[in-house]
């Protein structure tokens, strides 16, 4: 039979034994894309950036969950610093 109810699999619904457990979603796994903002216990950072860039797009994640806003304390963030240079942040 193609479908079986297997203890501990697929929340108790019929599943296909040959397949891995179905993922709950398409969230990111490590190693993350190097041009994604990543929070690792500190401020969001794009690991790959080292200055001297024009327009850069990224999604925002905190603890592997997508987020849509950045705050410093109670204040929304509109600019970030690369070294001593202020760069503007547009969040869609």
């Amino acid at each position: 039979m193609a479908l079986d109810i297997i203890s501990g699999r697929n929340g108790g619904y019929p599943c296909i034994a040959e397949l891995d457990e179905l993922a709950e979603n398409a969230d990111l796994n490590e190693p993350y894309p190097q041009y994604a903002f990543v929070c690792s216990g500190g401020y969001p950072v794009i690991p790959a950036l080292s200055g001297g860039f024009g327009l850069c797009f990224s999604e925002l994640y905190s603890a592997d969950r997508p987020v849509t806003e950045l705050y410093f304390g109670d204040n929304k963030i509109y600019a970030v610093y690369l070294g001593d240079d202020e760069r503007y942040v547009y969040i869609e």
Binding site: I5, G12, Y13, P14, A26, P31, A48
Partner: protein, 298 residues
């Protein structure tokens, strides 16, 4: 690359550069295989992903993963794969895609019009449609996909809900669909269905659709042929999820009516079961659904 490009001795791809060389070195009959995981971090594609050209008869992933595919476009269409015009049929087996993030006016997995066979593949893709596409409105693209023993985890956000798969088949597949749409449809007649004219066998669909749209119809299935398949799907918001009377059920199929959420579930001709019934193999067999295992909770 090592190998001769034949089925018995495929070219072995071990780098991102070799992956992208398929477009130049391949042909409609060439066979390629992955020799290792391919991580696009640290390559030119990390900064600006371009579609992987499939110029081959087959690509055997051998259980390996292509990961960190990220593309954001202002307008236009983002693709993962482009099937070369030389190829009428391509087979992809044993391939995993992970950490795929695509944002554009339109997002498709495949570009082209070939027949694509997927065997034992696992794709995890998050797609954001930044506008309402007017062409290639099905997520898999213009190709015909026949998938066997595959896993798909799709997180899709639409402005106007579009389709996922047109034609082709799903055989012993599992799908997790986390769908979000700003706009649905006011009637089944005007709706673009998620799956249209697909042959679905021994396959299950889990997931949800989230919307606050005033037009509420989400047609999950239309003009499909189904055997021994089921749905566990939640409406998280206002969506009324339906499978229309145009579908043909050759053997009993069911949906879990207990998890519908705040919307409605209307799967014509499907068996409407409680969660407990869905998880009871003896009960499922009693209604003609082919399923191994014991009673509920075993």
């Amino acid at each position: 690359m090592t190998g001769n490009g034949t089925i018995a001795d495929p070219y072995i791809i071990t780098t991102a550069a070799e992956l992208y060389s398929m477009g130049e070195t391949g042909s409609a009959d060439t066979c390629f295989a992955l020799g290792c995981d391919i991580d696009l971090n640290g390559t030119p594609m990390a900064d600006s992903f371009t579609p992987i050209t499939l110029r081959c008869g087959s690509l055997d992933g051998r259980g390996h993963t292509i990961r960190n595919i990220v593309k954001k476009l202002i307008g236009g269409t983002a693709y993962i794969f482009t099937v070369h015009e030389d190829c009428e049929a391509v087979e992809i087996s044993g391939l995993r895609l992970d950490n795929v993030r695509l944002t554009a006016s339109n997002v498709n997995i495949f570009s082209g019009t070939a027949a694509v066979t997927l065997r034992s593949c696992s794709f995890a893709v998050r797609a954001v449609f930044a506008a309402t596409p007017t062409a290639d409105i099905y997520f898999f693209g213009g190709v015909t996909v026949n998938a066997e023993l595959c896993s798909f985890a799709f997180d899709i956000k639409w402005v106007q809900q579009k389709g996922i798969m047109l034609g082709g088949s799903l055989d012993r597949c599992q799908l997790r669909l986390n769908l979000q749409a700003d706009t649905l449809y006011s009637s089944t007649g005007s709706a673009v269905s998620g799956f249209r004219s697909v042959t679905i066998t021994d396959t299950y669909f889990m997931g949800k659709i989230t919307t606050s749209a005033s037009s509420k119809i989400f047609v999950m299935l239309a003009v499909c042929t189904l055997c021994n398949s089921y749905f566990v799907f939640t409406s998280d918001g206002t969506a009324n999820i339906t499978a229309t009377t145009s579908n043909r059920l050759l053997t009993p199929c069911f949906f879990d009516s207990s998890v519908r959420g705040s919307g409605t579930l209307t799967f014509y001709n499907f068996k409407s079961l409680t969660t407990e019934q869905c998880q009871d193999a003896e009960y499922l067999r009693s209604i003609g659904f082919d399923c191994g295992g014991g009673g509920s909770g075993t």
